[in-house]
């Protein structure tokens, strides 16, 4: 259990974060969302033990950051946005070094190494020199160094930045696998990514937490509760409009014709009534070829929360 209470940090006279309080349960994956300058990096640095907070307490399983000092850092694994790697070392040499640096014996690290390599999907490059690896592999080696000493909390700052789509999918698998082993805190500016991989989201604005919860709770807090979906349908305009009239909680719909007798339809629902939407369409004889939740939904929630907080 990670407990942050009244966390405040100033850089000189400039306030970076103020009175942050939250808890993270064991094996929970929590995302931190915020605009540039919202205080995300400062929060992560404090939790990683890199910066001593001006005020407030941070405890991991009851061990206090300031009181425990250097020992506290052995409980944390940290991956900054640019993975810190010694590029002249092989992956195995590097992980063996970092594991020992974090206080583990060489035998301990060697015993844990195969599982870490597998979790991070880097077992096939274990003997390669880090400098020769692709950006995606380097990111994963960065995660491996953050977990090699079996920390209680792993902090990942922008873990998917600079990755291609294939690497992003693989990284999601890695993060989900991490969540089974330890508590994970992720900071990302890619809203969909936070939504995809995290159990809970903390929204920071102006150095304060303005909302916390799962996506639907954030939507409620932002006043943008509901679901927006885009469908690709086959049928006549009359059939589709007739079916939509029977959908519970329909707020708005927008039809656009596409080639091949298809329709692209944007639908806004007051709540998550996607099953009844599909049922109504199918009952009316409309062919449902695809339904996708609008990616901009979290974005609008986020903007609603941050604009509301600054207003």
């Amino acid at each position: 259990m990670i407990t942050v209470s009244g966390l405040t940090h100033y850089y000189g006279n400039r306030r970076a974060v103020e009175d942050l309080s939250f808890t993270i349960a064991e094996n929970e994956i929590v995302g931190i969302l915020g605009l540039n300058g919202a205080g995300k990096s400062t929060t992560l640095k404090v939790l990683a033990g890199l910066v001593i907070p001006t005020a407030g307490t941070v405890t991991v399983d009851g061990t206090d950051l300031v009181a425990a000092g250097a020992e506290f850092r052995s409980r944390i694994g940290y991956l900054p946005e640019d993975p810190p790697l010694y590029k002249e070392m092989t992956v195995t040499e590097f992980l063996l070094y970092v594991g020992q640096l974090k206080g583990r014996s060489a035998a301990d690290v060697l015993a844990r190494l195969p599982a870490v390599l597998k979790t991070c999907q880097i077992d096939q490059v274990a003997d390669r020199v880090i400098g020769e690896l692709s950006h995606g592999y380097k990111k994963r080696v960065g995660i491996a160094q953050a977990i090699i000493h079996q920390p209680r909390l792993v902090i990942l700052d922008e873990p998917i930045s600079g990755l291609d789509p294939k690497q992003i999918v693989e990284m999601r698998q890695v993060v989900r696998a991490l969540g089974k082993q330890c508590t994970v805190l992720i900071s990302s500016h890619i809203l969909a990514e936070i939504s995809e991989t995290c159990d809970r989201i903390l929204v920071l604005n102006g150095g304060r937490i303005v909302a916390s919860g799962v996506e639907s709770e954030l939507a409620a807090a932002a006043g943008t509760q509901g679901t927006r979906v885009t469908l690709q349908l086959r049928g006549s305009r009359e059939q589709i409009e007739g079916a939509l009239r029977h959908v519970t909680g329909l707020q708005s719909s927008n039809l656009a014709e596409e080639p091949g007798g298809l329709w692209k339809v944007h639908v806004a629902l007051g709540a998550d009534h996607r099953e009844s939407l599909v049922a109504a369409l199918v009952t009316a004889g409309v062919g449902v070829r695809r339904m996708v939740e609008d990616e901009s939904e979290l974005e609008s929630i986020f903007l609603g929360l941050t604009q509301g907080a600054t207003a």
């Binding site: 890199l50 001593i52 052995s74 940290y78 810190p84 970092v98 020992q100 640096l101 974090k102 206080g103």
Partner: protein, 241 residues
């Protein structure tokens, strides 16, 4: 202690596992050899002890320069490459990090000194010196280099890049070397103070003659400790920014 040796071992490996470490060693040995040949063995009728004294005089300067040169990378390179966070996020204390880095540079200095042994050994071809004189000279050279390495470690700890670290380290070392000159231009009590602080004239000279200078050992030890302490404070200060 395990953490200190771990950092020292990796950093020492970073010196010797790259071409640059060996290039620095080769250039320093070349410079040392040329200086010894041209200046140390000039003239025909020199006593062996005089030749040995010249060797330690010249080699001391080269060792000091190597110390400042190799330490510029210790922390500044870690900052430039973004790996400093690995050390800062580790459970090692700032003092342990500084000690590990300092130790790695001293291991490199000892390697350099080992490779320079052939020069005093050459004296045995046509002359005679005692092993004790050589050992005392190397002891003096080691403590002199230790002070230079500590100054370089501190300079690297406060610098964002290696060039700046080299410049800061070199300026401070040159100041300590130039203290003998400053003392000549000063009045009491600064005259005595600067004379005492002079690396070469006052503190290192007895070692060149094969005499163990306990005052020099204490002085170089103090300079080493003071600058390593400053380096530690510099790292700690960053956590409180």
């Amino acid at each position: 202690m395990r953490g200190i040796f771990l950092v020292a071992r990796r950093d020492f490996a970073a010196y010797v596992n790259t071409i640059w470490g060996w290039v620095i060693l080769a250039l320093a040995l070349l410079l040392d050899g040329i200086l010894f040949n041209v200046l140390g063995m000039k003239g025909n009728a020199l006593y062996s002890s005089e030749v040995l004294k010249q060797f330690f005089y010249l080699s001391g300067g080269v060792t000091l320069a190597v110390g400042v040169f190799i330490t510029m990378r210790l922390f500044a390179e870690e900052r430039q490459t973004g790996t400093m966070v690995l050390l800062e996020a580790s459970p090692l204390s700032d003092a342990q990090l500084v000690a590990g880095k300092y130790l790695s540079a001293m291991m490199f200095i000892v390697l350099f000194q080992g490779l320079s042994l052939y020069m005093p050994a050459m004296i045995f071809v046509n002359g005679k010196v005692s092993y004790e004189e050589i050992a005392v000279g190397y002891l003096g050279m080691t403590v002199l280099a230790s002070a230079g390495v500590a100054i370089g470690t501190w300079a690297s700890s406060i610098s964002r890049n290696q060039i700046l670290a080299l410049v800061v380290g070199a300026v401070v070392v040159l100041f300590f070397i130039a203290c003998w000159m400053i003392s000549r231009k000063s009045d009491a009590p600064f005259k005595e103070l600067f004379s005492y602080m002079a690396f070469y004239d006052k503190q290192y000279a007895p070692f060149q003659e094969g005499k163990i200078n306990t005052e020099g050992l204490a002085y170089f030890g103090s300079v080493t400790f003071a600058f390593l302490l400053l380096a530690t404070q510099s790292l700690s200060a960053r956590r409180w920014e």
